[in-house]
């Protein structure tokens, strides 16, 4: 009887192990397949358009005759919107991570953590909709602009989306700092603020960088909210108060229109490749810093 159960257990273990293995392999296979598909469709564009015209062309008129596929304005649109979101979300996110992990009382901590996780759960289209009806008119009136659909409005909303990511990862980083660092600093007579600024932040720095990078990854790939808030103007934005068009919004807005295997269709995939490369680099940096932290 005992033997039987041991045997059946072993068989069970075996199957479970294999299933987990297969699941792991499947997800990698999917990533590779997606990448191959993206490359195959995207690179077809460069049979007719030169890489230089694609990356540095300023005009995006994909369905005109002759079409123009310059993504510089879209690329810079993404960069402006992301930069704005970084400026807002990094200080806020890291400050609240410090507060939650080092300063706040247990009850407040639990309350704040739940709140921030709740923020992460709001669908981006809802945030976009709220932004359209509240933030856009506010931005227009506050800065006396011709329109409130600007890079800034997109940045503010995206910052809200990045903050939960940044807070939860940075908070983990602060937790993983050995207690004795903090205790030693306090024992030497450092104030709470000195401990945080001189000891905890340097010790948690790799984690902070990783948090910020993943935050950027979240921001640059976001589509729905930016499409609703930034005005989608394919013109190089000169400031945060100009409308902008991001790469993601372009793909989302135009994919319905394209005829399969047309130049326009390929160009959207080519934008996909550019996005993929950017997020890959950002994730790579995050990964490097996460591993630094573990050492």
């Amino acid at each position: 009887m005992k033997n039987m159960s041991l045997k059946s257990r072993k068989i069970k273990e075996y199957f479970i192990e294999k299933i987990i293995l297969i699941s792991g392999i499947i997800s990698i296979v999917f990533v590779i397949l997606i990448f191959i598909f993206l490359l195959k469709e995207g690179l077809s564009l460069f049979k007719t358009i030169s890489l230089k015209d694609f990356l540095f062309g300023k005009l995006w008129y994909p369905i005109s005759e002759p079409p123009k596929f310059g993504i510089l304005s879209l690329f810079l649109g993404s960069i402006w919107v992301t930069l704005g979101a970084i400026v807002i979300s990094f200080p806020l996110g890291i400050a609240s991570a410090i507060y939650i992990s080092e300063v706040a009382h247990l009850k407040i901590r639990e309350f704040l953590k739940t709140g921030i996780e709740l923020l992460a759960a709001i669908p981006s289209v809802v945030l976009g909709f709220i932004g359209m009806t509240t933030l856009v008119p506010l931005v227009r009136k506050m800065f006396n602009l011709p329109t409130g659909l600007t890079a800034l409005s997109g940045s503010i909303m995206l910052a809200f989306m990045a903050i939960p990511t940044i807070v939860s990862i940075a908070e983990d980083a602060f937790y993983s700092i050995p207690k004795r660092y903090k205790e030693a600093a306090l024992a030497l007579g450092a104030t709470k603020w000195q401990t945080i600024w001189r000891v905890l932040i340097p010790a948690g720095f790799p984690g902070i960088v990783a948090a910020c990078m993943l935050g950027i990854g979240r921001v640059i790939g976001e589509t729905m909210a930016v499409m609703m808030l930034t005005g989608n103007t394919a013109k190089i934005p000169k400031s945060f108060f100009d409308p902008a068009r991001t790469m993601t919004a372009t793909i989302a807005a135009e994919m319905g229109e394209t005829v399969r295997n047309s130049e326009h269709y390929f160009s959207l995939f080519a934008i996909g490749i550019v996005l993929f490369i950017i997020t890959f680099i950002v994730n790579l940096i995050a990964d490097i810093y996460i591993h630094k932290e573990l050492k």
């Binding site: 479970i16 009806t133 227009r140 659909l149 005005g231 989608n232 319905g256 229109e257 047309s262």
Partner: protein, 286 residues
């Protein structure tokens, strides 16, 4: 133990799930995709049609004329509604997929050019519109308004209205014209989004089917040229061809329609169907 079995069953289901993805459509389901301008109209037809013919179901979705036509070409829908004609290129693509699109004109639509009611300007010529939307005129004072920057609102490129407006207003029907929307134009994703922005923004100008106009926006009177009379977009002015910016609305089917699809199109062109056209603020054809 139980958990593990569940785990196994779950993984198996995930795997099998992919195989089960191919759904078989409900018998009698007709899928109509396309123009955002026409989505309310097609929906009203569908509701009325389903009352009379209870065994059929019509699923109506918007997304833009281009979306509908692309769906027709790739065989993912039965009927495409479009506020522009199918392009040569698209017809060729369809023929390659063994689809011979058949065209029906089901109504007319006036495109209203709208501004905020606080804007002093209430009439423009087609030339002025062209200059505004291509970015040659950038301040309202140049067309008799206040000294304020003009904010151009346009639909996204997958919109039939966008293309119609470009060809017939920006390019004034000239085939060789290369005029484009100013790069500074804001491209919004729906007519409703333009309507909402017009309500808030006294410097904005936009365009959409006249069915979307309500008292919170002001539709401009338009004249063909300086010497002509300015007309407001109304059903009578469009039937009499006085208002210069109107266009036919199309429905495309994959082949000569049969069965339920034919019934539906016959209904759309019937007396009742054309009454619905009028009720949804479009202009009937017969």
């Amino acid at each position: 133990m139980f958990k593990n079995i569940m785990c196994f069953v779950f993984s198996l289901c995930m795997l099998l799930g992919f195989a089960g993805c191919k759904r078989t459509p409900r018998a009698g389901t007709i899928c109509a995709v396309g123009s955002d301008t026409m989505v309310n109209l097609v929906q009203s037809w569908a509701e009325e049609f389903m009352k009379t013919s209870s065994d059929s179901f019509i699923a109506v979705t918007g997304g833009g004329s281009g979306t509908g036509i692309a769906g027709l070409i790739s065989n993912s829908c039965d009927i495409a509604s479009a506020s522009r004609k199918m392009k040569e290129q698209e017809i060729e693509k369809a023929k390659k997929n063994n689809i011979n699109p058949v065209e029906f004109i089901v109504g007319l639509d006036g495109i209203a050019v709208v501004v905020n009611p606080n804007n002093k300007v209430d009439k423009l010529t087609i030339d002025q519109l062209s200059d505004i939307f291509t970015g040659k005129i950038t301040n309202w004072k140049e067309v008799g308004g206040e000294d304020k920057k003009i904010v151009i609102l346009s639909r996204e490129m997958n919109s039939g209205t966008h293309i119609y407006f470009k060809e017939h207003v920006l390019r004034r029907n000239k085939e060789d014209s290369k005029e484009e929307f100013a790069p500074s134009a804001l491209l919004l994703s729906s007519s409703q989004a333009i309507a909402d922005e017009i309500i808030q923004n006294s410097q904005a100008i936009g365009y959409y089917g006249m069915g979307y106009v309500n008292p919170k926006q002001k539709a401009l009177k338009i004249a063909k040229d300086k010497k002509s009379v300015y007309y407001e977009p109304s059903i009578s002015n469009i039937i009499s061809d006085k208002y210069p910016i109107s266009r036919p609305l199309y429905i495309y089917t994959k082949s000569q329609p049969e069965g339920k699809i034919k019934d539906f199109i016959d209904f759309a062109l019937s007396k009742r169907g054309q009454e619905i056209v009028k009720e949804t603020d479009f202009v009937p054809v017969n």
